[in-house]
Symmetry: C2
Subunit: 355 residues, 2 copies
């Protein structure tokens, strides 16, 4: 098969790890007989510098004409003092909205080799295998009005808005994943306070009828923030609205012992998707050949599985990563006793050789 | 001194632990020569049953005529199917709003004896001493509109609203606490997305000028959710808006190893306050003499210190609790190796004897 992939390296370590994505795609292409045509474009700070905007039309155009998108990371101190409407993150929010990427998927597994790096006790961190499904194009992130009011602009409002349809489509996605996985869905809301959460909860209960094999429970977001630490092993699939998902998925990412290992997928209704590591652009270590490319590489594996119908190919990459860790290699962000610490390039090489 | 205290036991274990508050007040009164006049009233489910509303006027009236309020906990399965506007939690939200209790304080210490019960590794959990300052009467909790819209009610909105004044007063409170403690303030927001967070951040920066000895930093709420687990020891005072505070303070409460130990204070501008444990009404163990009364007792200590100007008295209670733990007593929620597990009544007796 021939597939066109848009690669948007972005800023900071995004630029280094993007080459990891390209390298494993080439290796997977050789082994399985596919051709991946990769085209690069700017987003975030790099796009601000080159085009004066964090999401140039040309980048959006390229994304639309590709079979899938890989993104590195955006942001950095260079752009921190710009007005918020012009900052690198705007590029990320805009591409999500423009491409209709409403379903953000964050799998949180335990990596046996990394359990020691978790701030949680090994008996708690070692037994985790959850998928967080976060709504990505609604809620407080995009609701209007979002403004200052009054004679002296002394009042400020943001709006948490959802349509029934927006809630339904993310809830259905989550049920589908739960049905295909462990059969348990936890819907997280704040229905004791928010009207939007009450509608969310009603819709989850309605849709539950279509998935008799999935066990559903509801949890308040504050309770979920506790349980994610005290008993993360209890979760299979979690579904929640945009901002709750932002907070809880970052919290949950700490369980595994390294942000540097976690991929994410953001899908549209057609199954088109953007894939990116959960970690940020890490300006403090950018350009030093220190960044962990594994989250980017695992994001590439997710892309093959979810958007390109290449399950076997994706799993080959995941196995290659596992095998490199098992052989005792790691990057400097991982604390693995007795392991050999290698740089970004070497890590990419090690994985590529095993695909 | 003579002080009038309103005690609102509420529901579930709230009823059992409230007697702990009364007992330590009596003991402290004897030792230090004060008279505490205690009057009881209903709130939450108990008030729904007795008066048809979760916050009867008579309860509010009593609270207004007292020097401070102690609250147990509200809620339970009996009232779970009521429409949300009539549920026990409404009583809690209403009393906060009616009494202007805008500043919710949640101290999160490490209890050396309990470090083993934390889901975090002891080297991480053992070194914590933070205060979370949560805004309690604004934001998404009270903003209007909060409604369904459209011909078929297919759109739902909630409103995150703050006035400049509301943000200023909570930020000033937090600076005062930071100045009196470790001199470090972390303001948590989502300024890369929310206009309200940008105003919040501006106000924090403005007020910082009045507190040259306090070091301020800003953190996004998603990053804060990570850091609270990975390096909770880095925090001194955290200040944040209502819903972020709800989520983060519950997350942080897990660090100590037991919710059953954590008190909270909710203060108005005059310093009047309502004091309550962080834990809920725990219907599953209610009425079994199993509940841990220490959070309620420590809430009583906070009341003495913050609202009644009785620092010494409050500290005597805190020392009594510490001494009971050091002597190897605990309730069944705490996992302390080699300790003697006692019931609610016995625990209250042990603490009272030591005041
Ligand atoms: C950069 C920021 C706007 C973004 C978000 O909040 O969605 C990020 O935290 C994420 O989770 O991808
Ligand atoms: C019961 C609920 C409405 C309340 C809140 O969200 O404020 C509780 O979680 C709390 O933190 O006191």
């Amino acid at each position: 098969m021939k597939k066109k992939i848009a690669v948007l390296p972005g800023d900071g370590i995004g630029r280094e790890i993007a080459s990891g994505a390209a390298a494993v795609l080439e290796a997977a292409g050789k082994r399985f007989g596919h051709e991946f045509e990769i085209e690069y474009a700017d987003i975030g700070g790099a796009a601000i510098d080159a085009h004066g905007t964090p999401l140039p039309d040309s980048t959006l155009e390229l994304a639309r004409n590709s079979d899938a998108v890989l993104l590195g990371a955006v942001g950095g101190p260079k752009w921190d003092n710009l007005p918020s409407a012009e900052r690198p993150e705007r590029g990320l929010l805009a591409i999500r909205k423009e491409l209709g990427l409403f379903a953000n998927l964050r799998p949180i597994p335990s990596f046996q080799k990394l359990v020691q790096s978790s701030p949680l006790k090994p008996e708690i961190a070692g037994n985790v295998n959850m998928l967080i499904v976060r709504e990505l194009t609604g809620g407080l992130y995009f609701g209007k009005p979002s403004e200052r009011r009054g004679e002296n602009k002394e009042v400020v409002v943001d709006t948490l808005q959802y349509t029934r349809e927006e809630i339904e489509r993310i809830v259905v996605k989550a049920f589908e994943f739960a049905a295909a996985r462990g059969g348990r869905l936890t819907s997280v809301d704040k229905a004791n306070v928010l009207e939007s959460s009450r509608m969310w909860r009603e819709i989850v209960n309605e849709k539950a009828a279509d998935y008799p094999d999935v066990t559903v429970d509801h949890m308040y977001v504050d309770a979920a923030a506790m349980k994610l630490i005290s008993s993360p092993g209890q979760f299979d699939v979690i579904v929640t609205e945009n901002l709750f998902g932002d907070i809880l998925s970052d919290e949950a990412s700490m369980i595994t012992g390294s942000l540097g290992m976690l991929p994410s997928a953001s899908l549209s209704e057609s199954g088109f998707g953007l894939y990116e590591p959960v970690h940020g652009s890490a300006p403090d270590i950018a350009g030093q050949n220190k960044a962990n490319p594994l989250a980017m590489i695992l994001s590439t594996a997710l892309m093959l599985k979810y958007s390109l119908g290449m399950r076997e190919e994706g799993e080959a990459i995941e196995r290659a990563v596992q095998s490199v860790l098992n052989d005792g290699y790691c990057t400097s962000d991982l604390q693995m006793e007795g392991s050999t610490v290698v740089g970004t390039d070497k890590m990419i090489e090690l994985v590529t050789a095993r695909v």
